[in-house]
C-alpha cells in the first residue's frame, strides 16, 4: 500500500486553518464549525483506514511491526547527514497516536459545535482547533527530531492561542502567558538536548539516531559517552534535557504549574489539548526515543520514573482538595501522565521486560478516551450551571441523566474498575512497577486509591450531594445533540478500549507479545480503588459536615495541599524576588543607562554639532559659491605647495 495518503491527514486540518483563519470572520462565521468538523472527519476516516491497513495487513514482517518512512523531504541541509527533514514515519505508536488525535479532536469539534454556539469568534475558534490538530499530527508523524521540535512549538503556540481564547479576561491572558513561558522554558532544554544528540549522533533523523546511539560499538556512541560535562556523559545530559522538554509539555513536577491555569480556556479545548493529546506529547517523545533511553542510559529512566511517581502522587493529593471541577480534572490529568512516565521509567527494552512501555502507551490510549469524556462531561455541566465551583452543583443526576451516566463510566474507567478501559492499562503499569521497584509500586498503588477517591468526590459532588433540585423554569436542557453524541461515543470507547489486546500491537521493540492478565495480581489494586470509592461515597454522597471534619483531621497538610503545596508561590518568589531583583533589574539598569546612554550620547552630540553648523546652509547661492571657490583655492594651494 502506498502510505503517502497519510500526508492528507495533517494537511486537511491545515487547509481548514488557512481557510478559516483568513476568511472565517467574513464568510464562515456560522458555517466554520461544520467545515472544520467535516475536514476532520475525513482525516479521522483516513487515519482509521491507514491504521487498520498497517496493523492488520502489511505492517507486520516476521512477527515484528516495521518502521516505514512514507515520505521524506529534505528541507534544510546543514551538512551531509545532518539535515532537517519533513516526513512521515509510520510505526505502531505513531499509528496509534494519529487515531487518538483525530478521533478525540473530531469528538471535541462536534461537542464544540454545541458548546461554542453563538460565540463571537466562532470560526476563529475552529481555525485554532484545526491548527492544533495539524501540529499535533505533524508531531506524532515526524521522521526527524527537528521536525518534531518544530511541531512541538506549534502545538505550544496553538495551546497558547486557545487558552487565551477569552482574551478579555485577565486571568485567561495570564494563564496563556504562563503556559507559554513555562513550556518554552522547558523547550529550551529540549532544544539543547536535540543539538547535543544530533551533533554526536551525526544525524537528526530519528531512526538513524536511535541506531547510532543504541549500537554500543558505533563511533557515535563511543564519542557521546566519552565526552562529558561536569562528570556526566553527554548522552545522559542530552537525554535528560530532552526529558525536561517532555516534562514541561506533559506538566511533570515541578514544571506542572501551567496546566491547572490552562483551564481558563474553553472546556472542549481543555479536553482536547490539556487532557487527551498535547500533554501526552512528552510521554510520546520519551516513547519515541525509548530504545536510546532503555539501552544506553537507564540512569535517565530512573529520573523519569522518580519524576513520574512524584508528579502522580502530588497531583493526586492536590486534586483531593480542589473545588473547581476543571482544576480537579487538570490535576488528575497530571497524575495520570505521571503514571505514564513512571511506567516508561520502570520499563526495560524488549519482550516481557518492556511491559512498562506497553502499559504506558496503553494508558495513554485509554486515558485519552476517558479523560476527554470527563472534560466534555464537565463542560456540559458547566454549560448547564454556568459555574466551575463544586458548591454550586449537586443533585444533577435527574436533570442531566445522559451526562450523569457517561460521567460515571468515565469515573469508573479512571478509577480502574474492571471491565472499564482504565483497569487494563493501569494493571499493566502497576504490574510493571511491581516487578521493577516495590517502593514505586507502593506509591502507584496509593495514587490509584487517591485517584478513585477524588474522582468520586467529584462525581458525588456534581450529581448527588444535594437533594435533586427542581428544574429551574425556562432553563435549557442538557444540551444539543452535538454535545450528547460525543459523550455517548466516548463513553462506549471508555468501556471497550481496554479490551484491545494492546501487547499484540505495540511493544517496545515492535515484536508481538502475548501478555496475559494476572487475575490474582489485580485483586489488590481493585480493592484499593473500591476503598477510595466507598470512602468518597461515605463523605460526599449526602450533604453533611463529614468532609470538613475529615479535612480538619489533616490540619496543616490539608491546607498545604489546598494551596497546591505553595509551588506557585515558590515560583513567584524565585522569579519576582530573586530573578527580577538580582538579574532583571541590574540588566535593565545597564540597558537603560549604559547601552541607551551611549546611544543617546551619540545622538545628542550629532544634534548639537549640526545645530551649530546648520547656519552654513543659508539658501544663499552666492555664499555657496564662495565656499566652493574657497575650497578650490585651498585644494589648489594644498596640491601645489604641500603635496610634493
Amino acid at each position: 500500500m502506498n502510505y503517502s495518503i497519510i500526508a492528507l491527514i495533517p494537511l486537511l486540518p491545515l487547509a481548514t486553518f488557512i481557510l478559516l483563519g483568513l476568511f472565517g470572520r467574513k464568510y464562515f462565521q456560522t458555517s466554520g464549525g461544520i467545515i472544520a468538523t467535516v475536514a476532520l472527519l475525513a482525516s479521522a476516516i483516513i487515519s482509521l483506514y491507514v491504521t487498520y491497513h498497517y496493523f492488520f495487513i502489511d505492517g507486520k514482517v516476521n512477527g515484528t511491526y516495521r518502521h516505514i518512512t512514507a515520505l521524506n523531504y529534505t528541507w534544510l541541509e546543514f551538512s551531509p547527514g545532518i539535515s532537517i527533514d519533513m516526513g512521515i514515519l509510520i510505526d505502531p505508536i505513531s499509528m496509534m497516536m494519529i487515531v487518538v488525535v483525530t478521533f478525540i479532536s473530531l469528538m471535541v469539534h462536534i461537542f464544540s459545535l454545541g458548546y461554542m454556539k453563538g460565540e463571537d469568534r466562532f470560526s476563529t475558534y475552529f481555525a485554532f482547533l484545526s491548527l492544533f490538530t495539524f501540529s499535533m499530527l505533524g508531531l506524532v508523524l515526524s521522521t526527524n527530531i527537528f521536525q518534531l521540535y518544530i511541531f512541538w512549538e506549534l502545538v505550544g503556540l496553538s495551546s497558547f492561542l486557545l487558552i487565551g481564547y477569552y482574551f478579555y479576561k485577565p486571568s485567561a491572558v495570564a494563564a496563556s502567558k504562563k503556559a507559554f513561558i513555562v513550556t518554552r522554558f522547558a523547550d529550551l532544554g529540549f532544544l539543547i538536548g536535540i543539538l547535543m544528540l544530533g551533533f554526536h549522533a551525526q544525524t537528526l533523523d530519528i531512526s538513524t539516531l536511535i541506531q547510532n546511539l543504541t549500537n554500543h560499538q558505533s563511533p557515535q556512541f563511543i564519542g557521546i559517552t566519552t565526552a562529558s560535562f561536569l562528570g556526566v556523559s553527554l548522552l545522559t545530559w542530552g537525554l535528560s534535557l530532552v526529558f525536561i522538554g517532555g516534562a514541561g509539555k506533559s506538566a511533570m513536577f515541578p514544571l506542572h504549574i501551567w496546566l491547572p491555569d490552562a483551564m481558563e480556556g474553553p472546556t472542549p479545548v481543555s479536553a482536547l489539548i490539556h487532557a487527551a493529546t498535547m500533554v501526552v506529547a512528552g510521554v510520546y517523545l520519551i516513547a519515541r526515543l525509548f530504545p536510546v533511553y532503555a539501552l544506553s542510559a537507564p540512569q535517565v529512566l530512573e529520573i523519569i520514573m522518580s519524576v513520574g511517581a512524584v508528579s502522580a502522587l502530588i497531583a493526586a493529593i492536590i486534586a483531593c482538595t480542589q473545588t473547581d471541577i476543571k482544576r480537579v480534572l487538570a490535576y488528575s490529568t497530571m497524575s495520570q501522565i505521571g503514571y505514564m512516565m513512571l511506567a516508561l521509567g520502570v520499563s526495560k527494552y524488549g519482550g516481557e521486560d518492556g511491559l512498562g512501555y506497553i502499559g504506558s502507551m496503553f494508558h495513554l490510549f485509554t486515558h485519552a478516551f476517558f479523560k476527554s469524556l470527563l472534560f466534555l462531561g464537565a463542560g456540559a455541566v458547566i454549560h448547564f450551571i454556568h459555574s466551575n465551583e463544586m458548591k454550586d452543583m449537586g443533585g444533577l443526576r435527574k436533570l442531566m441523566p445522559l451526562t450523569h451516566i457517561t460521567f460515571l463510566i468515565a469515573c469508573l474507567a479512571i478509577a480502574g474498575i474492571p471491565p472499564f478501559a482504565g483497569f487494563f492499562s493501569k494493571e499493566e503499569i502497576l504490574l510493571a512497577a511491581f516487578r521493577a521497584n516495590k517502593f514505586i509500586y507502593g506509591i502507584a498503588l496509593f495514587t490509584a486509591g487517591l485517584t478513585s477517591f477524588y474522582m468520586f468526590r467529584l462525581y458525588f459532588s456534581i450529581f448527588w450531594n444535594k437533594p435533586s433540585t427542581e428544574n429551574k423554569t425556562g432553563h435549557h436542557g442538557e444540551g444539543t445533540w452535538s454535545m450528547k453524541i460525543p459523550l455517548v461515543v466516548l463513553a462506549v470507547c471508555s468501556l471497550l478500549a481496554g479490551l484491545v489486546p494492546f501487547a499484540n500491537y505495540i511493544t517496545s521493540d515492535g515484536a508481538v507479545l502475548n501478555a496475559t492478565n494476572n487475575i490474582m495480581f489485580s485483586i489488590v489494586p481493585v480493592a484499593v480503588s473500591l476503598g477510595g470509592i466507598l470512602l468518597s461515597a461515605y463523605l460526599y454522597k449526602k450533604e453533611n459536615d463529614k468532609p470538613v471534619r475529615a479535612a480538619a483531621l489533616f490540619g496543616t497538610f490539608y491546607k498545604a495541599a489546598h494551596k497546591k503545596f505553595y509551588i506557585d508561590e515558590m515560583y513567584l518568589f524565585v522569579t519576582q524576588r530573586i530573578l527580577f531583583n538580582l538579574i532583571a533589574r541590574p540588566a535593565a539598569w545597564v540597558d537603560k543607562n549604559i547601552v541607551d546612554g551611549f546611544m543617546n550620547l551619540t545622538a545628542t552630540t550629532t544634534g548639537k554639532v549640526s545645530e551649530s553648523i546648520k547656519a552654513m546652509q543659508s539658501g544663499r547661492l552666492q555664499s555657496y559659491a564662495i565656499y566652493f571657490f574657497g575650497g578650490v583655492i585651498a585644494m589648489a594651494a594644498l596640491f601645489i605647495y604641500w603635496w610634493k
Partner: protein, 104 residues
C-alpha cells in the same frame, strides 16, 4: 614683428576670470551674475587660444575647444534665462537674495 609675450595674454585672461568671479559673488541681479559667468567662460577661451597659438601652433585643438565652449555657453545662457524667467514669475523679482528658501 614684435610678438606679444604669452604672459601678457594670460594676465588678461586671469584678470577677466577674477572680474567675473567678483561679479558672481557681489551682484544681486541674477542676469548680471549670468554675465559674470560668461566672463569666466571667455577667460578660459582666451587661455585655450593662447596656449594653442604659442605652444602648439601646428594643432587646432584649442580652437575647437573654444568653439565648443562658445556653443555650450549659448545653450547655457538659454537655460539660465529660462530659469530666471520662472524665478521671476514665482518671486516677482530677479534678486538672488529673494530666492533663498532652500535652507535648513
Amino acid at each position: 614683428m614684435n610678438t606679444i609675450p604669452l604672459t601678457h595674454i594670460l594676465f588678461v585672461s586671469t584678470a577677466l576670470f577674477f572680474i567675473g568671479m567678483y561679479g558672481l559673488f557681489t551682484r544681486r541681479n541674477i542676469i548680471t551674475m549670468l554675465m559674470s559667468i560668461e566672463l569666466i567662460l571667455n577667460s578660459v577661451n582666451i587661455n585655450f587660444i593662447a596656449f594653442n597659438k604659442y605652444l602648439h601652433p601646428a594643432n587646432l585643438d584649442g580652437v575647437f575647444f573654444t568653439i565648443f565652449i562658445i556653443a555650450i555657453a549659448a545653450a547655457e545662457a538659454a537655460v539660465a534665462i529660462a530659469i530666471i524667467i520662472n524665478l521671476y514669475r514665482n518671486h516677482k523679482s530677479i534678486d538672488i537674495e529673494d530666492a533663498a528658501e532652500m535652507k535648513y
